[in-house]
Symmetry: D2
Subunit: 443 residues, 4 copies
């Protein structure tokens, strides 16, 4: 784990938490680590002769939490917080917890909110004027921001320019930067961290993973995910209600998830009586005896009504490559699989001369712009607290990870190893197969 203590000397300040904490409550860096793979099989593999070292790296992570000695002197500390990318329920909770923790527990006096994501660092190197005003934050100004969805700081998708951003941090004398964002943001954060190291300046950079799709590596859940599941369930229930209330009714819901069907699958398991769950990880085949369309017709005739949950990233290979467009950032624009299925299914029933009523619901941004469930609030509080503990202890270049019910420090370099997807051999997908009775592959 990278730490400013490696280059700039020991953490020597006693933690202000000592007043209320007893000594044994603090985490010890060397000692407190947790396994990445907790299966017996993984363990046996790791502990074979000549592979013992694998046991420690990368197969354990440093445990997050308060340290007895801290690196920074709170009095003169300057902290910046930035939220990047799309919305997720809980952004404000995380910001609120960062701010109240820094100010109420660690007595930090200078905290700034950077507006509209990495764009907020934009400045003219000559005049040193910033394009957007930074906002001063304290306990009072964030008191009720958890009652609102979105990000009170403003967020944005703009690309990061590490050199310009480190310039901005130095111009403003920032000691700690918290970046809240998804895998793109965290890759950007890693680049900023490398630039900070290159310049040999003492700035802690701590990432906090945010992804409504739950597709960041090394974190088993992300804030806002559960709240999004709640709203997806609501949309599914509405579609199910429409289907049940009509003769040969079909309810179809499109749910967020470009690369991962995690949200769609979880929402479907939360419900009773969902019939088809379509995710990017399982190729979609429509035609033929064992294709989706035939399965749908059969089930409608057999059961009277059905409900379908489709992740927005599902079935993208059904569209001819010529139709693929790219957005400004070069990402492929997804084709609308929901509308596409709506038309295909309706046409199929018409062709077979079977009466049906299909209702299509696309809750889209309603999943991500709401406030948090109680459980998500707890998760955001812990994330924020652990990020503050990490930064105050001088940790840097890491993200607050979560796995096996433990918060950890995950090197930012490990985060960019890839994107987490739904594993079709794992319990969640098996629960979906078991709950729906649908086949494990189509066609």
């Amino acid at each position: 784990m990278e730490s400013l203590t490696q280059a700039f000397g020991q953490a020597t300040f006693p933690s202000p938490l000592k007043v209320s904490f007893q000594t044994e409550n603090f985490i010890e860096d060397g000692k407190d680590r947790v396994l990445v793979d907790i299966s017996l099989e993984g363990l046996l593999k790791a502990s074979r002769p000549n592979s013992g070292h694998i046991l420690f790296q990368p197969s354990t992570f440093e445990l997050a939490g308060p340290r007895e000695k801290i690196f920074w002197n709170p009095d003169s500390l300057k902290v910046a917080i930035v939220t990047c990318g799309g919305l997720a329920p809980g952004l404000n909770n995380v910001v609120q917890n960062l701010v109240t923790f820094l100010s109420d527990r660690y007595r930090v006096k200078h905290i700034y909110g950077v507006p509209y994501g990495y764009q907020g660092f934009t400045h003219d190197p000559l005049t040193k004027r910033f394009a957007f005003g930074w906002r001063r934050l304290d306990s009072l100004s964030v008191q009720n921001i958890d009652f609102e969805g979105g990000s009170v700081l403003g967020t944005g998708r703009g690309h990061s320019n590490p050199i310009s951003i480190v310039d901005a941090l130095m111009l403003r004398d920032i000691n700690i930067l918290f970046t809240i964002g998804g895998d793109g943001t965290l890759a950007g954060a890693n680049a900023i961290h490398q630039e900070i190291k290159r310049r040999k300046v003492p700035i802690s950079l701590i990432g906090i993973p945010k992804t409504i799709d739950n597709d960041v590596l090394w974190v088993s859940k992300t804030f806002g995910f559960e709240s999004a599941v709640g709203k997806a369930v609501e949309a599914l229930r509405c579609a199910q209600t429409e289907a049940r209330s009509a003769y040969h009714g079909i309810g179809l819901v499109k749910i967020m998830g470009r690369n991962s069907g995690s949200l769609t699958a979880t929402a479907a398991v939360a419900m009773n009586d969902i019939d088809f769950v379509l995710v990017p990880e399982v190729p979609l085949r429509l035609e033929g005896q064992n294709g989706l369309l035939n399965a749908i017709v059969r089930k409608v005739l057999d059961k009277g009504y059905i409900t379908i949950a489709v992740a927005e990233g599902a079935g993208q290979d059904l569209f001819p490559p010529s139709e693929i467009e790219k957005d400004a950032s070069g990402n492929e624009k997804l084709k609308d699989i929901g509308k596409y299925l709506q038309k295909l299914i309706t046409d199929e029933f018409k062709a077979r001369n079977i009466e049906t009523t299909l209702k299509y619901i696309d809750p889209s941004y309603m999943l991500r712009s709401q406030t948090t469930s109680a459980d998500d609030s707890v998760f955001c509080a812990k994330l924020g607290q652990n990020a503050v503990h990490a930064a105050m202890a001088g940790k840097t270049g890491c993200m607050i990870g979560y796995a096996h019910e433990r918060f950890t420090h995950v090197p930012l370099s490990a985060v960019s190893m890839g994107k987490k997807r739904l594993d079709v051999n794992e319990p969640l997908w098996l629960s979906v197969l078991a709950a729906t009775g649908q086949p494990s592959y189509w066609g």
Copy 2:
């Protein structure tokens, strides 16, 4: 008010409610009537010499409620309930209240649910076989149906054939039919009622108005409307959150309402800080100095973000007539004004070279397939109770109306006089103008 007592003799059975009610609580037909127009101006007009009779008809409606004597002997009574048209929150509550009231208070033993709307009467006149099974209903079978959205009976849009339906009612010895539906359904109910009268058979037909758009005449509110407003507010809040969290953010929400902007306007008033409300009743002009697009650009630049609520029926005249399609029933298919505005606004900002982020939300069926708010539950309970009181007293050919906080009996013939729309001179729309600051007309 039409009543079976006119043709078939007096209501002679004492109401079973006498056990718990005291005598003075019952409504007296001749005496208890309420004014249609409660303004002083309307009253003075009505009470001018030689116009006194206008005062009574049609400017008062009979008050709904329990009568001391009832027309039907509950013991042998057979009752049918049918739900028609699209879903609205509260359908199950109304059915539940009809059933528990009939069975627990009036001791009616034979109650049937007719499935899938008027389709449920379909039968073969020769074999007397019905296409769909009717469902026996009692207090236990409807105990928790208010926990679900939709209609447990099933609903459908099929046209009514009065002759066939009255045949079906007679085949099944039905004495009372409750039809729950919108203006189309109620027009159908009137035709059935005329056929019943023509045949001189003692069958009570009571309509219960259902319209998520709140566009039925003589009812100031309809069941499910408030619940739908609640969900529309949720969608608006999400759009507002997206807009506030982005630089030059725009949130756009499309809300149900083919002919009436009532739902859209009410939801907008429930919110703070909505900027534009677009309804079918106010012609939409996009171009020019005083057009919508210019107003939007100005407000985004001035305020930083905006939120727009658009009723699905708004701005339909913007589409070339050649593009208009009709559905199976001959109704014009609405063009998607939401998607259209999304494109127009985005293009306008691009043309003016102003950065913006527009998020479009279409909550569609989520507004109508949910369960009821507490207040809607109360309203459904009272509607159901008053419908049962009316039927048991021998009333027929009427709908349960609601105006000025009173439930009334409204002749079905009066219902088909027209469709209620939003009055742009009335308080609701003035509240919208005052809350948004938008002009009273475009262009």
Copy 3:
């Protein structure tokens, strides 16, 4: 209707709303009035020879709404807002609407929040120092206060001293005072208004009725009532669930309502399957063949489980007068009828040797400290808007009333005529009797 125009000259400033409103949308004082009693019977009585004048006064109220000419020049206007008494959902919505309307529509620049109710006017007449700081309010500072329950201004029960309060208003150059509160507060407001008149100073005082119990005269509903009903229904549903899940289960819920059973009755009607509803308006008799205890035992044995809703003010005469205590303000402290019934019922079953499980729920302040339902938000918006219209037009000494779906101006003197209670001959209570099957009186 009292108006500052009577003493200080005509309303001559054109309404700033003219920009968006068209002329015909404005209310005309003489012309637009609505009937207090809308029944035909009431009307006939009022229009009998020699009683025609009764028709106009007091049987009509002036219609609330925007006037074309306003009395005040917005530029220099100073406005104060005070919230008094206990909490109700929507206090913040009303404050928010007052502020945004005053500032965004009428361009008023100086708006102050008075803290902790009438206490907030406390000042030293010599030093002119105020005990509590007043808070400056504008559109931005109230932007999200509707996301919180309670009152951001703070509220309090302190008595009003009209002389000191008018002194305070004059010290601070206040032109308009909005007081939001219940019947005590409004009586206080009337005393302040009389003192203002006595001093012949041009200050508009507009009251906004607030009562979670719905017991203010001339208003058919009050803000927060529906939201409170929603939470009461939740508590009832929990009690019902506990009852249904246990052998011979009894669920008992105590609901707010010192003098009026309106909240309890409304919540009970919203539910299916409530068995007993106990309110202050119907004397409670426990013992004997037709007493409550016997009815409870019979229904538990017959049906298997029951749910009871009791208003906190019900059955107070069951307690010996010697036990009555008074609080600081001289009001009688209510005895806890919920706990009392819990013990009595448990003992009764024990005495009869019948197994039972009784679960008691007292949601208390949870009914009043929450945020608003969508419908309540709409109501608060309209209340706030109409209060601002009234004040700007120079109206004074009045409360914004609501009856028969119209907002009105009700003289404060008429408000103190009495307290509204549940009328046991009215539809609401009849719905309760019909829904529960309980007798109209006990014993």
Copy 4:
């Protein structure tokens, strides 16, 4: 892990899940185990020479999930389900998932619900008559039971008589019994399991842990806990609102938790701005410089208002032993710490002559009788599925555990080792200390 295969021969029936699952998805008994302690420290300790065997037992649990071969032939199988003890959100979801899984996936045809807990097994050994009718369950009869709180089977606290219960199971030819309940119920289940073993009859008994207090060993979370947290947060928010809206306001909420402060602590962490969290695990001292009362007064004066969350089991040692009563089952009745604190705090402020307003909320059963959050629904689904997989594979005498995000099989004998409590050295309590700033001990 105990399994019927040990005594009655191999699991030879192919799993009906093979149709939709692919072979590699099934769990292998010997291979798939997970660590109980996932810290590196624990691991090193376990893998020291001569202690290697500890690694496998008890420090790993068998992984739950579907097996490729099953023990039971579904055709003739008879299954019983019983819910015991107090309510928890999700009881119906678990029952629903057991039933739909058994019937839709494993094609089990005979499933019975045993009413009112272990009482439902009561029968006359001579006449073989059962005191309560068992209810036949299938997919349709449980379709919407997750829309209701409580247990549709009925639940009860009655003691278990293992001999009589095994008699009942054999009389009814039951092959699998699912018991859903807390530690008492699971201890009872273990006794039943021992009796089954003694009789050498092939009956699978699978326990499903239920505890709103989250105090069962080997399960890091229990169903309904998150939903209860959600409601506790609501109560805390109401109390906080009351406190903020009053001068020197104090909000006090009592939250379920006889032995564990887990629910109280979690709810407090979900909130911003809670001041005191009182749990059974931390002794309460009221008096003195470092006592609670002094801390409360200081914070009210300093901050203006405070919010206190107290677990019902906190501070029980403050009551004189003479006051302790026992209930029918011999458990000590908790004294009402909420009411007690309310009086003490009010008196303290009175004694110090400081104005205050204290509002006390006891949401009690509202925490446990509601329906589930989406996340709890997912958890219930997985619990139910894994219980069915375990039973069908012939597992017995075990409970479905959950730790480190994995479902496991935990021997019932291990469950009765003790009761889980809040560890004041663990992250959750440290989060509470950090969030509130309260000291780690009182006095």
